[in-house]
Symmetry: C2
Subunit: 333 residues, 2 copies
């Protein structure tokens, strides 16, 4: 660890002021991979045609998620490490939402030639640091020149012998529960959009989500019947479970704590804070359903119930307002 | 199969003229996933937070590769299915170059909102068709809006109990061999760059590479000591083997057949055809080293030898001219 820190400090001095078109593709790959510690699961890390990852379970969980500058992040709102953390978190949370433990990431960085090498290095460190929270390694990737900074991360995960927790398993009578905060990232986004930089707790929640990855496997062990990563917005994502499971989900507004800073920011900006909570994505909380008799693991909070029918309601009524985010229509859905 | 073809014909009629911002993210995902048949290895295909792929070997091969419009493909040069085939091939070839059999792909499509839905559908079919050549399934992915059409594919593969064939295993005395054509894609690229659309065989080689994926596992079984997918250019990629293995590689020009159409096109365009063969990438041939006593599998042709030293030479001399492609400096390297 000390060695890594020293190497980082030295390399940062060297690359200060250097841009990608000055170091070349292979120089960039060398600089980035030097920042990627390999765990035991990584049987062959970066540097060959492909990586090799140990899969003791005999099944591998795999997902991929893209972040495009200007749409998913802005370099004036988030530093390079933040973007790295967010890109990793979006994928690690998807793996956790299957009830699995993330083991490896692959990272494609499509970047303008005038991007400072230091940005790419700090980005790589952000990815590796977020992966390190769950013991996952960044085992490979690709770099290429692009006019538009675009990051695509693929995550692999291990089910540890358990059945995956899919979206289609919810049954009438189940409870709906949530692990992790919702609404803070959306609030932070609104704050930044209006030109403010505080409250810091909200802005930071947007910049670098804090995901309780262990809540996913814990939910699987506790008997979760369905689970999803809340990235489109809570109502939209519960809608995916309702549709896949052919059930109705009702959410109880009062079940959500309303942190003082969220309440204050909502009042100051003239926003309904429940709009952030119920329709905001990017906190990467996990939502799941459990049989009503199940003992919920630590960190899970009951926020609703499953019944016969279809769709999602809030306190028994339709929610007026956007339920989440659609990446093509740019409108709430 | 008949069912799929019918479904495709019907859906194409529906989506003719529709653009991505008219169908929305989830509509697009539904339209694309309808075109992705799932093989036995796919334990859970598209539609959840992550896919689940069977990995009987206990180790999974994984790699990722990005294609950016204007840099890796042009929509006026390649149709959507071509781009799908190429995006898949680049990754499937990397898996084969480890001596593994590709099993699954994940596809991230970052696309402008005004992209015709039909383009995305035909692209998905191209990816699935190329994957189908080796029995691999497209198990998941992501779609998002982006001003710049960018495609990132991740491939997974199965080593079938064998050791991977890495870049670092070449030894002095080994022979260097090649499976698949080299130079045709580069020639096709030059032809298109100069505004021509023929000879068709060269243009088609650029648009849709024909990769002998089985040559990778066959080489592993035959005892290949190192292997690489030729994507940067033959000399550049052999340079990666020479560097990783700490050996010298000499390539024999006369070992390469010079197809008549390549010769004719080179004369017409005033290009040295060996520049295409030795420095052109994107045919996704496989290059490998074998012990001199090894019986080479069908399709493998000896093109050089390994000795003590470093670097790559052609007929014992330095090659004058570019050796391949660097994605950031835009210059030959």
């Amino acid at each position: 660890m000390d060695h890594d820190v020293e190497a980082t400090a030295r390399d940062r001095r060297v690359s200060s002021g250097v841009r990608l078109n000055g170091t070349g593709e292979f120089g960039l790959i060398d600089r980035m991979t030097a920042r990627l510690p390999q765990g035991e699961i990584s049987l062959l890390g970066p540097g060959d045609d492909a990586a090799i990852v140990a899969v003791p379970d005999g099944r591998v969980v795999a997902c991929t998620d893209a972040l495009v500058e200007g749409r998913h992040f802005r370099r004036d709102w988030c530093d390079a490490a933040d973007v790295g953390h967010r890109a990793a978190a979006a994928n690690l949370a998807d793996v956790a939402a299957m009830g699995a433990v993330p083991t490896a990431l692959l990272v494609a960085l499509c970047a303008p030639g005038d991007l400072p090498v230091q940005w790419a290095e700090e980005f790589a460190e952000g990815v590796a640091d977020e992966a390190g929270l769950v013991g996952a390694s960044v085992v490979g990737g690709d770099t290429t020149s692009s006019a538009l900074l675009t990051i695509v991360v693929t995550a692999l995960g291990d089910l540890q012998g358990r059945d995956p927790v899919v979206r289609s398993g919810a049954s009438p009578g189940d409870v709906v529960a949530l692990a992790g905060r919702v609404g803070c990232a959306a609030a932070g986004y609104t704050v930044l959009s209006r030109g403010f930089r505080t409250p810091k707790i909200l802005v930071d929640a947007y910049r670098r989500p804090e995901v309780d990855y262990r809540a996913g496997p814990a939910a699987a062990i506790a008997g979760a019947t369905s689970m999803i990563d809340v990235s489109d917005g809570l109502l939209a994502d519960l809608g995916h479970i309702a549709k896949a499971s052919e059930v109705h989900i009702d959410v109880t507004k009062d079940a959500f704590g309303l942190p003082q800073q969220l309440r204050d920011a909502a009042r100051a900006l003239g926003v309904d804070p429940y709009q952030w909570i119920l329709a905001g994505g990017e906190d990467h909380a996990l939502a799941a359903t459990f049989p009503s008799h199940a003992s919920l693991p630590p960190g899970w909070l009951i926020v609703g119930k499953v019944s016969r029918g279809e769709g999602v309601s809030v306190d028994g009524r339709d929610w007026v307002g956007p339920r989440g985010w659609d990446h093509f229509t740019r409108s709430g859905s």
